[in-house]
């Protein structure tokens, strides 16, 4: 099954189960979604539940907030995380805060889905990642789906939750192949140990998990150690339990993210490790991230700016050698 098909199936199942579940966004209806995630749903559930909206992100989220206040369970789609900037007032001031400010009288059972990250030559205005901003807003749950199984289960659980959820996807993952374990009762808040190891902990999320997995063989051969790869899955709250047991085991932490390094999301993981696990560390934590420039359009420059499997392997090996491996 493809990643986008898993998302489609999750939404479809929830819409079939609960008529309060509605979806809205640009091109989600007749066009089937920019990335075909909502394909076929308008034919099945009609235009009242699958709503094509104008190009107006603030009102997409604003309408979803209103629907959720009225008891519906809306799933809003923002075409890319880059456009979510237009909806930030609704997301931060309303979606995240109404439950708190109403002393729990208002619940917002809603999900805002959006893909982010660097795709392929979409240029600076369509290549950003905003998980660092979205995860810094108290009141929002932020999930990041890097694989097909998690995408399916976590989106279903997100729709079921009474709390507002930001559901992050990645443009290059929509056609990723994978299996869904339908019998699993997946905990979407739990980080996923993609590969076990006891020499280095590499933490990542979204598409970078695949890049890290591609680099792991070279790193293990080069440094003669084993690598544990953790996919964070839930960016807010963070599964510190899984993180800390891995860091305690390895004493070495690497965080790989596609976002720019300065102010990037990985900083909070490194900060956690140095605040809470300082005496467990056997080497200074390493962050691998994109360079601090707007993502270039030129493919060679684009690849120069973002982490790639080759660059990840090289950097981790340099760092390992510098630090006693």
């Amino acid at each position: 099954m493809l990643y986008r098909e898993a998302l489609n199936m999750a939404i479809d199942e929830m819409m079939a189960k609960d008529e309060n579940v509605v979806i809205l966004g640009e091109d989600v209806g007749r066009y089937g979604g920019s990335y075909r995630v909502t394909e076929g749903l308008v034919a099945k559930y009609g235009e009242k539940r699958v709503i094509d909206t104008p190009i107006a992100e603030l009102s997409i989220v604003g309408n979803a907030v209103g629907m959720a206040m009225g008891g519906l369970r809306p799933i809003a789609e923002i075409m890319t995380a880059n456009f979510s900037l237009l909806a930030f007032d609704q997301i931060i001031n309303h979606m995240a805060k109404l439950r708190y400010m109403s002393a729990g009288k208002i619940t917002l059972a809603m999900v805002v889905r959006m893909p982010g990250g660097v795709s392929r030559q979409l240029a600076a205005q369509h290549s950003e990642s905003y998980e660092q901003m979205l995860s810094a807003v108290p009141g929002l749950i932020v999930f990041a789906a890097s694989d097909v199984n998690y995408a399916y289960h976590a989106l279903k659980k997100a729709i079921l939750m009474d709390d507002p959820v930001i559901f992050l996807e990645h443009e290059l993952l929509y056609n990723k192949e994978g299996e869904v374990n339908f019998d699993e009762d997946l905990d979407p808040f739990k980080a996923r140990v993609v590969k076990e190891g006891d020499g280095i902990t590499i933490v990542s999320y979204l598409k970078m998990v695949d890049d890290v997995m591609e680099a792991v063989g070279e790193i293990e051969d080069g440094l003669k150690t084993s690598v544990e790869v953790i996919d964070l899955c839930s960016l807010n709250p963070i599964d510190f339990k899984t993180l800390s047991s891995s860091i305690k085991k390895t004493g070495r932490l690497v965080v790989v993210e596609e976002d720019h390094k300065t102010g990037g999301y990985g900083a909070s993981i490194v900060s956690f490790a140095s605040e809470e696990l300082f005496y467990e560390l056997d080497a200074p934590p390493l962050r691998i991230a994109s360079k601090d420039v707007p993502i270039p359009y030129n493919r060679r420059l684009e690849l120069e700016v973002i982490p790639t499997p080759r660059k990840i392997a090289k950097r981790v090996m340099e760092w390992g050698v510098e630090n006693g491996l």
């Binding site: 939750m161 009474d162 905990d187 809470e276 005496y279």
Partner: protein, 409 residues
């Protein structure tokens, strides 16, 4: 479960309150929101309510007494179940609810005993990772001193400390033995220092083999002989007359034999051939490889175009090869280009043996020790290149040449 009713803060500036009157007595039943007492703040008299249903277990403050805000004034035994039982129920009720899972996740991640010694760890001197310092503290090691003495690298990491800590229970030689044999240090007690003899006795009594990595040279040899063993070969045995060779002692047996073989090869092109796929590559000259052993390593230097060389030149080349091999200066190109091989174990007194064909050679001649002016020669020949008849002719020619005075002129 018991809970305490405390002196409430009734205004921003209130720091203590005076208990005016109790509305209940010990043993009374109260319900949530029942007024149980009146207290006076700095501004007014106000009522204190019960927050839970229960029985007043104890009254702690007498009427007219003043107590600070937050101090318990009474204990009420609540009818609610204990916190732990209660949360169990909650869990069951809201299986899969996000709140429950979030609570679990926020349960403090980094706590354990190791964190208690934090202040001590930060006092450990020397340049080392935090994890290494913690380990050094546990083991009572002085990182700074050991680094000055060159016994620990700087910065030191966890494994360096572990390694040093373990090695302290062994003499340097004993530690080296442990490493060589890959024996765990845990098999020895840590009450005293163990010496080399002790470790060696342990190795002997437990019959632990030494695991040596096969070096690249040895690997290459293994690869070659394995390939050689797959070739379709047959053997021809005979003796050559060595009286002339022994008469001309100015050159060694090997040198003379190379010369004889080179002459014979020029008359039998099968022995100058290499099989390459659908083609036979037939060389115009006779290049001969000769086995030279150095310890457990075997080298096959090649005497290129031996047919064009005099015995003096061959002798000189052999000496150069031996020198190169003992100094490790033999180059790959020195071992390429042959089509026939010679292996001589005569100097060890071996009477007769057979050898394996080297790389792409067509055949190999194994020469034994000369007895009564006769030496056994075994030809191992690749049947794809040379058939039995030709092989026999070649052997015959070797015999003729070895007793031909013209060769020794």
């Amino acid at each position: 479960m018991d809970y305490s009713v405390v002196m409430p803060r009734l205004s921003d500036s209130m720091e203590e309150g005076k208990l005016i009157s109790w509305k209940v007595r010990e043993g009374d039943r109260v319900e949530k929101r029942d007024v149980i007492a009146e207290v006076e703040s700095d501004k007014a008299v106000m009522e204190v309510q019960a927050f839970k249903d229960g029985v007043v277990k104890k009254i702690l403050v007498k009427e007219g007494e003043s107590v600070p805000v937050g101090k318990p004034i009474a204990v009420i035994e609540s009818e609610e179940k204990k916190e732990s039982e209660k949360s169990d129920n909650v869990k069951k009720d809201s299986e899969g609810s996000s709140l429950k899972i979030i609570d679990e996740i926020f349960a403090k991640a980094g706590e354990d005993d190791s964190q208690k010694a934090v202040s001590e760890i930060s006092k450990v001197k020397g340049k080392a990772s935090p994890k290494a310092k913690r380990e050094a503290l546990k083991a009572g090691m002085d990182i700074e001193k050991l680094q000055e003495e060159g016994k620990l690298p700087s910065p030191a990491h966890f494994n360096d400390i572990k390694e040093y800590e373990r090695s302290r229970y062994f003499t340097p030689k004993a530690w080296k033995l442990l490493k060589e044999y890959g024996i765990s240090y845990e098999l020895f007690d840590r009450k005293r220092k163990h010496d080399e003899k002790e470790v060696y006795d342990f190795i002997k009594s437990n019959d632990i083999p030494l695991k040596k990595r096969v070096d690249p040279l040895k690997k290459a040899i293994i690869k070659n002989v394995t390939a050689s063993s797959k070739r379709p070969v047959y053997r021809i045995f005979d003796f050559i007359d060595t009286s002339l060779i022994e008469k001309h002692k100015e050159y060694s047996f090997t040198v003379w034999f190379i010369k004889i073989v080179a002459i014979a090869m020029m008359e039998h092109e099968g022995f100058r051939s290499v099989l390459e796929g659908d083609f036979l590559k037939i060389y115009p000259n006779a290049s001969v490889s000769v086995a030279v052993a150095l310890g457990d390593a075997l080298f096959m230097p090649v005497f290129k175009k031996a047919n064009l060389k005099s015995v003096r030149e061959i002798d000189k080349e052999l000496k150069e090869f031996k020198e190169k091999i003992s100094k490790g200066g033999l180059k790959p190109q020195d071992m390429e280009g042959s089509t026939f091989g010679i292996s001589n174990l005569g100097m060890l007194g071996i009477f007769m043996f057979d050898a394996m064909i080297n790389k792409n050679d067509s055949a190999v001649a194994a020469v034994g020790a000369a007895r009564d002016f006769k030496a056994a020669v075994t030809l191992t020949i690749d049947h794809r290149l040379v058939n039995g008849y030709e092989g026999a002719l070649f052997m015959k020619r070797l015999k003729e040449l070895s007793s031909d005075p013209m060769v020794f002129k």
